[in-house]
Subunit: 438 residues, 2 copies
């Protein structure tokens, strides 16, 4: 099954937004074992959209169209699909009623334009909307298919999982295509891409020797490793396995993940903090929960970034007490009890950690101060950060770090670096619940 | 001159990276008055790359190829271009020497693979490298052209400006094409896309009547409007002008921006908060600076998100004092002085605003509490937020809002909604510096 993604929207051609939808879909399609040889982007123009569809249908088995399903006059994906199918558009009254209801529950009146979103090519099936107004479409053309979803990323993603993927799987099963490609990502913080590549060279050589692997035509059971430098999220090692079933692929991934972790640990130490969606804040949360500890955070240059990452972890209220954004030095003195004096120092970071532990009633206090730039502060160079850590059962410790990049990147690197120091300190606590007595 | 961008690399199809190069090139091409009707992405496969080139040449006047010029065996853009041109590749010894020199000055030895980067299709001109090893190519095919540049973003950008743009300009001048396309984005918060479209229907009709406008083939002096639903950043109205010169286009944009603002204001009130890169936090900062006021923020469900957006505004230290992330109710009581009792209420939001104004010594206090979900809290439904605003010279005011979406979106919408309420309240202060006496 070869699927071509066609992104519709003049804003993509003009570079006003980057096409993240196609990247997301490419990743999900690969995971499902669906081949994707081409992507296209095209503007809001009927003739050119139909040309893009015809080009795609000539070289692929199906299309996923993103965008152009909105209510305005430049949203013409529905018309273009009907044209390529050679059928009429018919307004579906049930959908009109749903859209009207959507507006009604929000105390607004549906505009006449919105009714266009209920137009459906004859012969197409609907993917009902659950988040917005435009339904998705499944449009058969002989033994090929056009799927259409909105360009709004979360609507697109939800409809792909619920409406497109099951249909694709059914088509692949009918065609006797059974292999799946599954990836697992081992996430690291604190090593360089080339350092990781060297640590894993032995594994890469062993996998290469195992079978002659092709990028998108690998034999069953094959495994590959790839490196993804993900900026503020560290460097990821992606393990990809192709196998006959999901279970078989998962078994292969389990084995290879152990090998990868062993090789990294041997060369670079404890730099793996999670797998797949396990962010650094999830890793911190796991350590806190395992030890029954609560956390408070005092932030200067990161300005709330660490706290806002922590509250994104589901169930954060069980272990996150809160924080103080001490941007102005007077807030450090008044709210956190930092001694009046220089505030870009290790001593200030320690006092912030202790102060926020007291203020929020937490078991653990994390404090971060430093210089995001572009200018020096108190004679300290941009990119310098100081992290303080106050643990209930231990004395307060501090660390100084130098980080690369501009203002925004120093903040982002500072936030994840501070969380990583906290993660390592929690792991080093002798045993789970060591901090409970405090 | 119609240029199609073809991005080469299997990692793009697999979604391992988003194609930011095409967005960047699209923006630069539009600014130069070059039409771009299609983008394609294709993997590292000779047959499919040549098919993508042939498809592009059939519907465009030229191609910019990004990627596939590296030293490894899967970098085959050079071979594909030579194939489409129907010529041989010839190794250019001068480039081999340059690449060898590049390695030598870094104390490394050139690998045999790197010499492949000196292969040039017969008849092609070179864009010399100044940052890496692979030169760019300008490859004529009759009166059409293929430009090839590396996929590394900064190498691509540098070569585009130095090598491609002048060549494109010369081709356009020879063809008598002289126009530029410039866009400006008016940013709104609080209206639906269809509501905005209705408010601006009169302008759209007037522009349509002015000249028969095509999205990307408009006559000189023409203006078009488009809507971009940008999720947590609100809805953008993009005004695009095509004119003979940059100055002429700017003048057209100035006139149309006034018309657009007038039409929106008349139907929907004060929902325009900025233009182009002016985010909501920048709009808030402008109002605070104009009035000489400082700000403190108390956040519950948004967990530091508002503070972290505010500190991203350059010069934030002049007006942002800091904040309290009062995630656990005890932090609300202890640090902010919220009366013990229910904390998901308008009264709690008001007390948080007043408390953080006191704690941080700010002129203005903003407080936000509510329920991100997925479960009810204190009998309050997910998506409910309460915003409190404590202004030095006024009594404290509160607002209750219902927001759509999951946990993460409620947080994001909550943050921008609270900032928008603050922005409007500041505008409503009778005159700049009205709050100074406090």
């Amino acid at each position: 099954m070869r699927i071509e993604i066609v992104a519709v929207g003049t804003e993509l051609l003009l570079g006003q937004i980057a096409d993240t939808n196609s990247a997301w879909l490419g990743d999900r399609l690969a995971a499902a074992g669906v081949t994707s040889h081409f992507h296209q982007a095209v503007g809001d123009n009927h003739e050119r959209i139909t040309l893009a569809f015809r080009t795609a249908l000539a070289r692929s088995d199906g299309i996923i169209v993103c965008g152009g399903l909105g209510p305005t006059q430049d949203d013409i994906t529905r018309e273009a699909i009907a044209d390529v199918m050679g059928v009429e558009l018919v307004r579906n009254q049930e959908i009109v009623d749903l859209i009207a209801g959507f507006f009604q529950t929000r105390g607004r009146t549906m505009s006449a334009n919105n009714a266009r979103q209920a137009d459906v090519p004859v012969g197409a099936a609907i993917i009902p909307q659950v988040m917005g107004t435009a339904p998705g479409l499944i449009c058969p053309l002989g033994n090929k298919v056009i799927y259409a979803v909105p360009g709004v990323p979360y609507e697109m993603a939800e409809m792909f999982e619920r409406g497109i993927l099951p249909d694709l799987r059914a088509r692949m099963a009918a065609a006797g295509e059974q292999s799946v490609i599954v990836s697992r990502t081992v996430r690291t913080w604190g090593a360089s891409e080339s350092g990781l590549a060297e640590a894993l060279q032995g594994r890469i050589d062993a996998l290469d020797a195992n079978d002659a692997v092709e990028p998108d035509g690998a034999p069953a059971g094959s495994v590959t490793l790839a490196f993804l430098a993900s900026g503020i999220e560290g460097i990821k090692v992606r393990i990809t396995a192709r196998a006959a079933t999901l279970d078989a692929a998962a078994a292969v991934l389990d084995v290879e993940e152990k090998e990868v972790r062993k090789a990294i640990e041997a060369e670079l130490g404890d730099i793996v903090f999670g797998v797949d969606d396990e962010s650094m804040e999830v890793a911190v949360a796991s350590q806190l929960i395992a030890r029954g500890l609560t956390l408070g955070v005092a932030e200067s240059l990161t300005g709330g970034l660490i706290a806002s990452r922590l509250v994104n972890v589901p169930g954060a209220s069980a272990w996150f007490r809160g924080g103080v954004v001490a941007y102005h030095e007077q807030v450090k003195f008044d709210v956190l009890g930092v001694p009046v004096g220089p505030v870009v120092t290790e001593a200030a970071a320690a006092a912030m950690a202790e102060g926020v532990r007291r203020a929020t009633g937490a078991d653990v206090g994390l404090g971060i101060t430093g210089v995001a730039g572009p200018d020096d502060q108190e004679g300290v160079a941009p990119g310098t950060i100081f992290v303080g850590l106050s643990l209930a059962s231990e004395s307060t410790s501090t660390r100084a770090l130098r980080l690369p990049g501009d203002r925004e990147r120093v903040r982002q690197y500072g936030a994840i670096s501070a969380l990583d120091l906290l993660r390592r300190a929690l792991i080093d606590l002798e045993a789970p619940s060591a901090g409970r007595e405090a």
